[in-house]
Symmetry: C2
Subunit: 437 residues, 2 copies
């Protein structure tokens, strides 16, 4: 009788509960695929009520994460504590105890990845984090194990379900940001403090992992230009429709011929005929373009107990297969071999090029468009389309879609334009992702 | 200096040329990910001109596939011969010589899979075929290695680019099947003998692989109900639009509570708001629903030298990583352990349930709809919508959308209806894939 693989879970909240449910509910299927049983040996949580609700067998529950890490009977630790404090300590302790670790903790991998990869490597164990990006979507495995013959050219990701849910409702119903956020909080789609989700920070964490996987180097969070969706108004979504576009909070990464990488997170207009523009509600998607495979897209649930738990269990089975076959370090955690990884050159935001949607607020006087377009022209920014609203004695919207322009030039032009007397409010700027940009 | 992994390619046509191009063009990247170089040692093709065009180094080209298989210096054989004749012999010979095999040959795996898996297992080598389904889309790896904690509930696939290209043009431009097929042949999107693609046979081969991977058993091609797209007329695509749908050639698999599996290939109406309905032209997509991960979708190029070559190279790197780490049989070729696989119970087509689009051709007389709907009613088929064309002295179209009905009942009702004097031509039947079907 083959030896079972023993799992210890630390953190029995939403995702932890999902992992426990899958390991218990689908244990037969997992054994058919793995060849030996996968058994839940320890589950730790600081909240006794959370543990009690799981109905675990005698001796499995504990309040102490380190009891899981140090249990000699546990082969693989699932870290679902979150954050980069105690989670980091538990992970390092697990490695030191010779245990593989599977996690959904994007913040930890994004901020302490290199330290942890190095510790795992030294200990001869694996560190897996498919669940950290895109919930149940197996995007990291595709990058690590499938696109290994490709030079990745670009990635576009909708990787925060909360932000996508809010933008979808604003787009579909014309609702304003504030009420939709409040509703999302009431529905459990947004946290009480929604900062991480709606200001793009969570998306930037995930982008850092995707960039590392695709391009074989580290990117600091400070190097990822990050804007959230608080400034988006329903009127912008209406104009987007007029341009045949939708607005999505996108994680964008692009590789340039000079070896530099763009990595940025911001609201982005995308042509509504593109598949990624059709990804609505809490769903996530990542579009990856490789120099050989061409354009691909991966779509699924980006969050939730079961979808994220599914990704954790997928990693558990992969690690368990390696344990069974005696394989070690079969796949490096970031796709590239450790000695082939190095910090990436991130192109400064001022140097990126894009199309731009600009909604200026101007007084309705003759000559205003001439003044503004003149300043754009002086900064090498060419205007593709203008929508000027009907006459009014008050300020009106002047909406401009530019051709491809350099961010630095746009910023300089806007600074001068906003200093004009005829411009009465800050300009809303939304970058436009286009096939020719 | 670590030892290089040596590759031998048999068949240097479209995909073979892509594999050679990737191994040569991206060799540095592959080494960064693998840790050792991957070297092209032998390339076989019966056509000297094909070989000459690749510009291979001295000593690499050969006209003899068995010279590749028997070269002691080759670690992994890439079989791109196609078909189930000599390709099978070469594959078995490679296994017997202790070599791993990577292929894009769906016909061979669909018809001789169990024999080949067993031979590979006995020889202690791997047999990989990601490129056999969906070209560059890493759908098989997702099933083998990511959804291992999930009970797969259903799969819907657009997995033949030729058929999808033809249906897309017919839908977008109102063109008829014949001229579009001729054009697709001129453009190289369809073969001189297009039977495999447009009659659904190629799609059925790929579905057999997906079903085996998802449900852990064998399915014979005879058990997959297979219809192609020759019978689709532009008028049906127009009616589909009227119902908010598009027509796609879908591979469909569903698991039932009683343990039986549906596996079928036919033109299918899909609500146009669904992501899979947006997959146009030569692109492929597979939507997989798991009991935990929920709904997912994988999209990309389903054919072509580079996209399919990318999948072959992804498998080569995976095999090479296993060679490096001394791992054997880490992942079973069909996700489930060999001793856990068994023939599947395929639900007979007569027993499946679906919504149906029916375009009857009837004489324009009073009482016709009453007669027809009466016969449907007698067979427990409830009608959801009817579109009856304007009056005419000739035959007119009577278009009916049914509620959920059993195939057997529909066939019996149609047999009786088509025997009526008022029905003047065979009925076009298109199944409708609906969330509630």
């Amino acid at each position: 009788m083959a030896q079972a693989i023993h799992i210890g879970v630390i953190g029995a909240g939403t995702v932890g509960g999902g992992v426990v449910s899958i390991l218990q509910g689908n244990c037969g299927l997992i054994e058919q695929r793995l060849g030996v049983p996968m058994q839940l040996r320890r589950v730790a949580d600081s909240n006794p009520a959370t543990l009690a609700a799981l109905g675990l067998p005698e001796g499995v529950a504990t309040h102490d994460g380190f009891a899981v890490v140090n249990d000699p009977d546990v082969h693989v630790v699932v870290e679902l504590v979150g954050g980069d404090g105690i989670a980091r300590e538990l992970t390092l302790a697990a490695f030191a105890a010779g245990k593989h670790v599977v996690t959904a903790n994007k913040a930890l991998v994004a901020t302490h990845g290199e330290e942890l990869f190095s510790a795992a490597n030294k200990a001869g164990v694996q560190y897996m984090f498919e669940a950290a990006v895109g919930g149940g979507i197996p995007i990291l495995r595709a990058m690590r194990e499938s696109f290994t013959g490709d030079r990745i050219e670009s990635m576009l990701g909708i990787i925060n379900g909360t932000a996508n849910y809010i933008l979808t409702r604003m787009t579909d119903n014309g609702e304003a940001f504030g009420p939709v956020l409040a509703d999302a909080q009431a529905l459990g789609y947004a946290e009480a403090d929604p900062t991480y989700d709606i200001d793009g920070i969570d998306t930037a964490h995930k982008l850092a992992l995707l960039v590392g996987m695709a391009f074989g180097g580290q990117v600091g969070l400070d190097d990822i230009h990050t804007e959230g969706i608080r400034g988006i108004e329903p009127v912008d979504l209406d104009y987007a429709k007029a341009f045949g576009c939708k607005v999505k909070l996108l994680a964008i990464a692009k590789a340039h011929q000079d070896g530099s990488i763009e990595a940025r997170v911001h609201p982005t207009m995308v042509d509504q005929s593109r598949l990624i523009a059709q990804v609505d509600g809490v769903f996530n998607a990542v579009a990856v373009t490789g120099d050989r495979v061409g354009e691909t897209l991966f779509y699924g649930q980006g969050a939730g107990a079961m979808a994220t738990g599914s990704a954790v269990v997928g990693d558990l089975v992969a690690v368990a297969r390696d344990i069974r076959t005696g394989s070690r370090d079969r796949v490096p955690p970031m796709a590239f071999q450790a000695d082939q990884r190095s910090p990436l050159t991130i192109r400064p935001m001022a140097q990126i090029e894009s199309l731009y949607y600009l909604r200026l607020t101007v007084v309705d006087e003759p000559g205003v468009l001439a003044d503004i377009s003149g300043l754009f022209g002086q900064h090498q920014i060419s205007i593709a389309r203008v929508i000027q609203e009907g006459q009014s004695s008050e300020s009106v919207a002047l909406v401009i879609m530019t051709h491809r322009a350099r961010e630095q030039n746009l910023r300089q032009a806007l600074a001068e334009i906003e200093a004009l007397n005829c411009v009465t409010a800050p300009t809303t700027v939304i970058r436009v992702e286009s096939d020719d940009a």
